[in-house]
């Protein structure tokens, strides 16, 4: 009859605890077995395909802290270039409780509340100037936030009676934006940055802060940046008050602006 299969009720619980119970503090990637640490990677090395390249790929994975590195694909993609797909196991867990989550501070408010809050704090409409700055011509994201039509069924800032929106459109030089902010006495300046190749956005965003500071306007406005590769942490690092990433809804931004202005007026 052959050997009888042993089955361990001891190990049996490991799986069940997995995704049902609240996560523990130490978190590893999870592919096939809870905590197995499995990560997929792909990259190109400027080395001709062959044993050396393959070993270099394995070594690259080890440098990434991946154990049992498995090179699943070795594709020669040029005389001196090889593309790899690999899988390995990360053994160093992330400690959730140690993570600092950078998030702009606001609560989700509805349109009426936002309008009321702004009117109560400022006694007038809040002036919001928005632009896609530098050479960035991507306006869809900015428009999604500003234009009446909004984004994914959520109305844009123009739909808020207490917000007066000036949408300057695309490829606006920082100088022009600052001049406009002064001209209309902006309460908030909203910048969109979509092109990030070679970190062009970092230079551009830093330059805007410098200009605003030089003009003595920095403290007078709520300064916000948004874009698909923008995080709040990055925004703060660059001297902005808040940063908004992919999937942002206008209401998120309006909620933040109203509360931030209120906070400033109260302080």
């Amino acid at each position: 009859m052959g050997t009888v299969i042993r089955h361990g009720h001891d190990r049996a619980t490991s799986g069940a605890k997995v995704a049902n119970t609240p996560h523990s503090d130490l978190v590893l990637p999870y592919g096939d077995q809870f905590n197995d640490g499995i990560v997929q990677v792909s990259f190109t090395l400027p080395v001709a395909a062959g044993a050396l390249a393959e070993e270099a790929a394995r070594q690259t994975m080890k440098l990434m802290g991946l154990e049992e590195p498995q090179v699943a694909e070795v594709a020669p993609i040029g005389e001196n270039a090889t593309f790899f797909v690999g899988y390995g196991k990360l053994t160093r867990p992330v400690e959730l409780s140690k993570l600092r989550i950078a998030k702009p501070m606001w609560e989700e408010l509805d349109q009426i509340t936002i309008n009321r809050l702004v009117q109560e704090t400022l006694g007038r409409a809040m002036v919001v100037v928005g632009a896609a700055t530098g050479q960035d011509a991507h306006t869809l994201g900015l428009d999604a936030i500003l234009n009446y039509k909004g984004f994914a069924g959520n109305r844009g800032l123009e739909a808020y009676s207490a917000l007066k929106v000036v949408n300057m459109g695309s490829q606006v030089p920082n100088e022009t934006l600052v001049a406009k902010a002064r001209e209309v006495s902006a309460d908030a300046v909203l910048v969109s940055q979509v092109v990030t190749e070679r970190n062009v956005h970092l230079a551009n965003l830093t330059n805007l802060v410098e200009l605003l500071e030089a003009e003595g306007l920095r403290d007078k406005v709520v300064l916000v940046v948004g874009g698909p590769r923008i995080t709040h942490a990055l925004a703060v690092e660059l001297g902005y008050d808040a940063g908004f990433g992919p999937g942002t809804r206008p209401q998120d931004v309006a909620s933040y602006l109203a509360q931030e202005v209120a906070r400033r007026v109260l302080n």
Partner: protein, 528 residues
């Protein structure tokens, strides 16, 4: 809808010949039973436990009768006789045997009529339970309807049933309609079914009744949450075919892989053993309203898919008739097919489309189990994902029913959580994006697609004629299917086949056949 114009005569001939081939096999083997069938009868009679060493009591009972030279009569009468003689339940009897306390082969005979009645009686609960589980499924399918085809079918193969349950539910919530728990490597060659909950399989999780139950419960919970009935699948190919068929029936599995040809070709299981087992298991499947899946798709991993069309189709014709004879309705016959043509050849997509359409059209009421590309997959998961995308397309275009979702990591490992997610997403996208595309295109008369389909059909007829001449066993011996040759006298599990004595009686077979003849067997609505 895309339709090929095919020669009706050729199709009819293929059916006639296949009917003939399969009838002969069944007739030839009708005098045989197997240890697996007898263990199944024991299980029907309520023998479910294991010894302290983990040996199933069903095995204990059957081994006992084998040892005593009485297995030819079938377990049912000896067991029933013992129950009457000792005033015990079947479970009690089997425990006593396991403790070496009795020999049931030489107890006093309680009279043929009494024993037969008792034999029927001890199996009745199980038969009723299976009908009940079947009714339960029908109710659930009405309450929690599955509205889209193809059904997206994914596997879990973690080796740990608890992981499988978690990941199966996750997959269902991501859109999977069918969850299969793959078996550990090698289980199909075990001549017993492991017992209890298991957590240590390799490349799959052991098929056990407890594991079936655990998964069924998990998926039932998820089904209610999603408002969509999630089907559960396991395998009853291999040496324990009928036993596992029984367990699947009792635990309300919805689909079972069941194919003697698969066992012969890919597991080197003895032909007689597995054909006998197959007929019996398919009767159980039919009775339980379970959809079977056959394994022709596997042929395309060992022979070139471009050339293998006729042998695959011939096997499907035969498998169809084997299934019909076991009482399965067309709606329960999930013939195996696959998208395995070398993707580097010109017009590979057109050839796949032609073949998928052909199979679909030849078995219009059968839910084809359409398998994704596997052999030509390499470690480049991106390219692999694209190949699956074309598979997804062909499946939707040709209106398939059971769609095994291809995994981008097919050449690397059994699916990870995210592999299932990405692959289900891709398949669901295609189901939506190409929903009515097949209805708005037509096959060009006399074009490449039709030429290809016609030539495969013609060659299938020729092949079936040849098989008919020599008989199926001889054909297998010559390596007609999957390029694998097997001897009638070779293979695993042959020692478990025996000739039934003239006293042989199986109350289970009787009950199943009763249903069969009344056309009521395997009846009941299959949704959508």
């Amino acid at each position: 809808m895309l339709r090929l114009s095919l020669d009706a005569k050729t199709v009819e001939r293929c059916h006639e010949i296949s009917e003939n081939i399969t009838s002969r096999v069944i007739d030839e083997l009708s005098s045989l039973s197997t240890v697996a069938i007898e263990r199944t009868v024991a299980r029907f009679a309520g023998i479910e436990g294991v010894t302290a060493d983990g040996v199933p009591l069903a095995n204990v009972l059957v081994s006992h009768l084998v040892e005593k030279g009485k297995i030819h009569d079938g377990v049912a009468i000896h067991l029933a006789n013992a129950c009457l003689a000792l005033g015990k339940t079947p479970a009690g009897i089997s425990e006593m045997i396991s403790r070496g306390e009795i020999d049931i082969s030489n107890l006093e005979w309680q009279g043929t009529e009494e024993v037969t009645r008792k034999a029927r009686e001890i199996c009745k609960d199980s038969l009723d339970k299976i009908r009940a589980r079947r009714a339960e499924r029908e109710v659930l399918l009405e309450q929690l309807p599955v509205t889209q085809t193809p059904w997206l079918y994914v596997i879990c193969a973690t080796g740990n049933i608890h992981e499988d349950a978690v990941q199966g539910r996750l997959a269902a919530s991501q859109g999977a309609d069918v969850i299969a728990v793959i078996r550990s490597t090698g289980q199909s060659l075990l001549d017993y079914v492991p017992h209890g909950i298991t957590t240590e399989g390799f490349g799959g999780t052991y098929a056990t009744q407890a594991n079936f139950k655990l998964m069924r419960d998990a998926l039932d919970e998820e089904s209610h949450k999603l408002g969509r009935y999630v089907r559960l699948v396991n395998y009853c190919s291999g040496l324990c075919m009928p036993e596992i068929a029984y367990m699947g029936a009792v635990e309300r599995l919805d689909m079972m892989l069941n194919d003697a040809m698969y066992g012969i070709l890919f597991r080197d299981i003895n032909m007689e053993r597995t054909f006998v087992d197959q007929n019996f298991s398919r009767m159980i499947n039919a009775y339980a309203g379970i959809i079977i899946n056959t394994g022709e798709d596997n042929y395309l991993t060992t022979v070139d898919a471009f050339d293998a069309g006729p042998s695959v189709l011939a096997s499907q014709f035969m498998n169809y008739h084997f299934a019909k004879k076991a009482g399965l309705r067309d709606e329960q016959i999930g013939l195996g097919h696959a998208f395995e043509i070398d993707p580097s050849i010109e017009d590979s997509l057109s050839y796949e489309l032609a073949m998928a359409l052909l199979v679909r059209q030849l078995f219009p009421d059968c839910p084809i189990k359409y398998m994704p590309p596997t052999v030509h997959k390499k470690g480049d998961i991106f390219t692999s994902h694209v190949l699956d995308s074309n598979f997804n397309l062909v499946s939707v275009l040709t209106g398939q029913t059971i769609h095994l979702v291809g995994m981008l990591t097919e050449a690397i490992h059994t699916p990870l959580i995210q592999d299932r997610y990405l692959s289900i997403r891709a398949a669901a996208y295609m189901r939506q994006a190409a929903k009515h595309l097949g209805h708005n295109l037509e096959v060009k008369r006399g074009g490449l697609l039709e030429a290809r389909a016609t030539s495969i059909l013609d060659d299938t007829l020729k092949l079936l004629e040849r098989v008919n001449e020599q008989g199926l066993f001889a054909a297998i011996t010559e390596g007609v299917f999957a390029g694998v040759k097997r001897l009638r006298t070779g293979g695993k599990g042959r020692e478990g086949v025996f000739k039934k004595s003239r006293w042989y009686f199986s109350p289970v077979e009787e009950a199943l056949r009763a249903g069969l003849s009344g056309e009521s067997l395997g009846e009941g609505p299959i949704q959508d």
